[in-house]
């Protein structure tokens, strides 16, 4: 009798069983703490990103399963909001303001400088993994621009020179809030 290949019947796995432990627990903690809220999805996504620094696409099935939503619905929300990140960021995130009030005092030049200094475009992470550069449309520091925020720390009247000082002064290790705020 010739050996016949046995057909594997896939066993139904609970969504998220294949996730790295840190991601799985970040999702479940976020869901369990916020599940009772009205309109809980955004608070849950914030909690996940606060913990992991991003929202790994592979976590979406588990989020959807826990909230009884479709994956498409969760994907739709995550991808709609600029702040939610689907790529792992560097140790720190620099939010550089591009809006009009900062443009009036040199934001366009600062943007070019920042991209050059870090060797990235917007949404990119520097080669050493330290910084991710994100555009932001107003930090509310409009009388003291150009402005940027590194993680949760706001800086005003920024110049290319001060930018260079800042990125060389920020510690290489992530702070507890590193890469997760604002």
């Amino acid at each position: 009798m010739s050996a016949r290949k046995r057909v594997m019947i896939p066993v139904r796995v609970e969504p998220g069983a294949d996730l790295p432990a840190a991601e799985r627990s970040a999702v479940l903690d976020a869901v369990n703490r916020n599940r009772a809220l009205e309109g809980a999805l955004l608070p849950i996504l914030h909690a996940i990103q606060d913990r992991l620094g991003w929202i790994p696409p592979r976590t979406l099935p588990l989020i959807a399963y826990e909230l009884n939503l479709s994956r498409a619905e969760v994907h739709g929300v995550v991808s709609f909001y600029h702040y939610f990140r689907q790529h792992e960021p560097g140790k720190h995130v620099i939010y550089l303001c591009r809006a009009e009030a900062c443009q009036a005092v040199g934001a366009v030049g600062l943007e070019a400088h920042a991209k050059r200094a870090l060797g990235v475009e917007f949404h990119g992470t520097s080669g050493d993994g330290r910084y991710t550069l994100e555009p932001v449309y107003c930090l509310g520091n409009c009388a003291s621009g150009p402005s940027l925020m590194i993680d949760r720390e706001l800086h005003g009247r920024m110049t290319p020179q001060r930018f260079d000082e800042l990125i060389s002064a920020t510690p290489a290790a992530a702070t507890p809030a590193g890469g997760t705020a604002p």
């Binding site: 009205e38 309109g39 009036a104 005092v105 509310g140 409009c142 009388a143 003291s144 005003g156 604002p182």
Partner: protein, 519 residues
């Protein structure tokens, strides 16, 4: 004797070094064995003087600024704890002309009180409005707000009392109060200053709104770009609960009001009220068709008041001092005061709260002192990224909703962004379209597609590629967006574009030779 000092913990002051100043001050005081008590406040909004340090003396609070950490030893040497002479001494803070010549009805406590001290808040008139409102009939509260003439400070300027009356009259087992704290317009920061400097004022205003319309649940939708405001509001809400100002029994009245803070996620469109509601419900921030109005079918389909931070924060003083008191300020149909924000390239940027009617020129030159760069002002954009760019010929326009509309602009949330003569207005017009493309929710075609086409047409126009035709095309596109968009994002993006084209056409034109060669 211990001396009391005040240093802001507000975001702009921090961005200019306030924490380092506070640390240096404490260290130097310890070294000199001088007992000091440092109170961290909000900011008064005189940003060119930040970090501003105030010293409590027998003659009131004496201001020093802008102070850097390195100035601290010198200040001690000059006996600043007794108001001593120093190059940074600005005299009594209330006498600084910029501040003295304001009418701070809504923002009176900013920079004065410890934002997280309920005692301090009450000592400065806090919760008097709510105390007055509690025994009133809900309809009487609504009437007081209507009579005050208050209009929505978020930008649309809809009469607040009429909105409240609609919700008051609506039937519904559950009603909601929603505060729009998604202050996304560039050049605006009054919501942030209020939340960081006087958070209980917003809580009080929302609680009064709840009493007025019969809503027991409220949400503040705060943008995530404001982590400092988030921290302050979170703590303030917790302490309002702990002291019985929120919860099942507000101030022992037996009436309930619950308040939650929610974070946005970097979408400008969520400042539009129906997008905001979608987002609060946990969905993509896509706008809803109107009708139904949110007042009738808002959050989770229930009757909902959606107002801006400053609108809610203006309510306590109306209930405290009376509708007539508030109404006596202002001009025409714009009653009361507006917290105006001077931003961009401005020498003395900050918060100027004045009764409606003050002219743009007075704000730009008397308060603002012209540009920070020292060059002439070429253009100002009032009302955020969707506001028109105006040249100097329009600077005598009074700040009044109708006067601005008549001039083809909009007052919006009261942000004024100043540009000097190095600005390239074609680039600003292009940016307006680009911003619309980035932030469009995608629901309607004029906004979603029009904004991208707008960038392309402006690029061709500026390159001199059949310029006359491109200009016709751009105006036609703007007409479509203006009249065909579902909400203000697509509908108002033509304002900055067309105003730049109309008032600064020279920035769009290439030499005629090029035009001739390509057409």
């Amino acid at each position: 004797m211990s001396v009391t000092l005040y240093i802001p913990r507000e975001a702009t002051a921090l961005s200019l070094g306030a924490h380092a100043v506070a640390r240096a001050l404490s260290d130097e005081a310890a070294r000199r064995k001088q007992s000091v008590q440092v109170v961290r406040t909000g900011s008064r909004g005189l940003f060119w003087l930040e970090p501003l340090v105030e010293v409590q003396t027998g003659d009131g609070r004496i201001a020093y600024g802008p102070v850097q950490a390195a100035d601290i030893p010198g200040l001690f040497a000059a006996d600043f704890l007794n108001g001593g002479k120093h190059a940074l001494n600005l005299g009594p803070v209330e006498s600084i002309p910029y501040l003295k010549n304001q009418e701070r009805l809504t923002c009176g406590r900013l920079g004065v009180i410890d934002p997280l001290s309920l005692d301090d808040f009450r000592a400065h008139g806090g919760y008097e409005g709510l105390e007055n409102a509690l025994p009133m009939e809900p309809a009487a509260i609504v009437k007081a707000v209507t009579d005050s003439g208050l209009r929505g400070r978020g930008g649309a300027a809809f009469p607040t009392g009429i909105k409240w009356k609609t919700v008051h009259d609506a039937q519904g087992a559950q009603k909601y109060i929603v505060c729009n704290a998604d202050e996304g317009d560039s050049g605006t920061f009054s919501d942030r200053l209020l939340m960081e400097g006087d958070p209980f004022c917003l809580i009080e205003g929302m609680t009064i709104a709840g009493l007025a319309v019969g809503a027991t649940r409220g949400y503040i939708y705060l943008r995530c770009e404001y982590p400092h405001a988030h921290d302050t509001m979170t703590q303030a809400i917790a302490s309002a609960y702990a002291s019985g100002y929120l919860g099942v029994d507000v101030m022992g009245s037996g009436r309930a009001f619950d308040l939650q803070l929610r974070l946005g996620a970097g979408a400008y469109i969520c400042g539009e009220e129906t997008s905001l509601l979608e987002s609060l419900e946990g969905r993509r921030g896509q706008i809803r068709f109107k009708p139904p109005l949110p007042a009738l079918k808002g959050l989770f389909g229930c009757p909902t008041v959606v107002n801006n931070v400053i609108s809610f924060a203006s309510v306590p003083i109306i209930l405290q001092r009376g509708a007539q008191f508030y109404r006596d300020y202002g001009m025409g149909r714009s009653r009361g005061s507006l917290p105006i924000q001077l931003a961009g390239n401005i020498a003395r940027g900050g918060l100027v709260e004045r009764a409606f009617g003050v002219s743009l020129r007075e704000l730009l030159y008397d308060y603002g002192g012209g540009t920070r760069s020292g060059r002439p002002i070429r253009a100002v954009q009032v009302g955020g990224p969707l506001g028109a760019y105006w040249p100097e010929s329009k600077f005598d326009t009074p700040l009044d909703y109708e006067a601005f509309a008549a001039g083809g602009g909009m007052l919006g949330h009261g942000g004024i962004v100043v540009f000097d003569d190095t600005v390239d207005m074609a680039a600003q017009a292009r940016y307006a379209m680009e911003f619309c493309a980035i932030e469009s929710c995608g629901k309607c075609t004029p906004c979603r597609i029009g904004s991208t086409r707008g960038v392309e047409v402006i690029d061709r126009l500026v390159a001199g590629d059949r310029a006359a035709m491109q200009q016709t095309l751009l105006r036609d596109l703007c007409d479509t967006m203006l009249n065909g968009s579902l909400c203000a994002l697509g509908g108002l993006t033509p304002y900055p574009v067309l105003s730049a084209l109309d008032y600064f056409p020279e920035d769009f034109s290439k030499p005629a030779a090029l035009e001739a060669a390509t057409s």
